[in-house]
């Protein structure tokens, strides 16, 4: 029943597509983090207009499915001749870029709320203490706010990153040849649906388990204050 040669060949082809999946993930998460940072800033900054814009953005991108956002960017924008004749077309004509843009816009909305939660978890006392010792502006942000906020936001952000690895599979529906897309291409040649999809599923599972392990390690490194102190050497 189990055809080891076929599975091996399939696995090799699918593994060759892993870099595309990882590139989609890395690019969209980095761009998304910048968007999320700006949105979180707008949310806590206190300017009513910026706050309202950020709320609207977050509502739209968290409230609708990523697939429809991706189709809107890939199929919807190319409908307008003005877009096709603009310099933006150099970017938008590639399905890979459209996938990255829609993934980034979407994760930007989700991560913005996570970052905002992290920022609001920074204790006022820490900020007051820093101000009392003369820190302000960028130094205060870099030394006090950012590390504390990052530590507070990390668990929720880890969940978001796992969701993003899974979301890259949607890029196959706008003809990007990442792992899921390649799996479908193999199936149209061989008609062996289950074996191929299960191989692809195994790859995503390994990627996600590795990612979760890495993030757990990072979380442990970032929270020395929560660990039990090292036992003192016996006197």
């Amino acid at each position: 029943m189990i055809d080891a040669g076929f599975l091996l060949g399939t696995m090799r082809q699918l593994l060759a597509a892993v870099p595309t999946t990882l590139a989609l993930f890395a690019l969209s998460v980095s761009i998304g983090a910048v968007i999320a940072g700006l949105l979180a800033w707008a949310r806590v900054g206190g300017h009513p207009l910026l706050d309202r814009f950020a709320r609207g953005y977050i509502f739209v991108f968290r409230g609708s499915p990523l697939l429809i956002q991706m189709f809107l960017i890939y199929y919807g924008l190319s409908q307008f001749p003005a877009v096709r004749h603009s310099p933006a077309w150099l970017v938008l004509r590639e399905p890979f870029n459209c996938a990255v843009i829609s993934l980034a816009l979407c994760t930007g909305g989700y991560a913005a709320e996570i970052f905002r939660g992290g920022l609001q978890a920074v204790p006022h006392t820490a900020i007051e203490a820093a101000r009392a010792s003369g820190m302000s502006g960028l130094l205060l942000f870099r030394r006090i706010i950012a590390p504390l906020a990052a530590r507070a936001a990390l668990p929720a952000y880890s969940t978001e990153l796992v969701l993003m690895v899974k979301s890259t599979a949607l890029a196959s529906l706008v003809t990007v040849w990442e792992v899921t897309g390649v799996a479908q291409r193999i199936i149209t040649h061989t008609y062996r649906t289950m074996e191929v999809f299960l191989c692809a599923a195994a790859i995503y599972l390994v990627l996600n388990v590795a990612l979760v392990r890495l993030l757990m390690l990072l979380e442990w490194r970032l929270s020395p204050d929560l660990r039990a102190p090292r036992p003192l050497p016996a006197a």
Partner: protein, 242 residues
Amino acid sequence: MTLLRLFGFGPQGWGGLLLAAALMTVAVTLAALLLGAALGALVAAARLSRRRLWRLLGEAYTTVFRGVPELLVVYVVYFGGSTLVSQIGAWLGGEGFLGLPSFLAGAIAVGVISGAYQAEVYRGAYLSILRGEIEAAKAIGMGGVLRFRRIVVPQVLRFALPGIGNVWQLSLKDSALVSVTGLAELMRMSQVAAGSTHEYFQFYIAGGALYLLMTTLSNRVFGAAESRVARSFRGGIGWQPR
């Protein structure tokens, strides 16, 4: 074509079809939520079990279905289910490819995923029941089933409500992926309308707006349910029942 004719309810309008498709989205998500509730309760029970094997199985379930792309789960359920149905068909003397009905495939796929998330919600809710209440129930002589029915279930449902709301939103958006099986839900209908009128932008905006409407409405419903349920929570020091 003007917008009114495009989205209207006339013979050339897509308005009625889009609304019907939105109802289909709600139907498939509801079916998935119910299946997910049953699966989630079982998996949560397995993860809380005293037996190591059950705990491992429960953990494997949640890891796999939260770690594999939803799209792949939809494909595997749809094609795997269809293979199974075709084989049963062949035994009964039929021939050729028989598809698993796409509504069923979609509800199972989204339900299995939602079950993994619901399991975590129920597990957390169970763990937040005060031990003392279980002990009290034992002390006044309630048996296992009665204790479960009278003490555990009502509290788990209350504690789990916000989590269930989140899972519902997640499933509502996952249900868009069922469009790949050809089920005429909102995503699929937006695609069909966009393709046949070549007005991609308008129809994806309209589809997206309907999704936003559904998520907003369900937010309201869950919010109302949560504040209703909150009336029965224990208060802090100095809390007076109203």
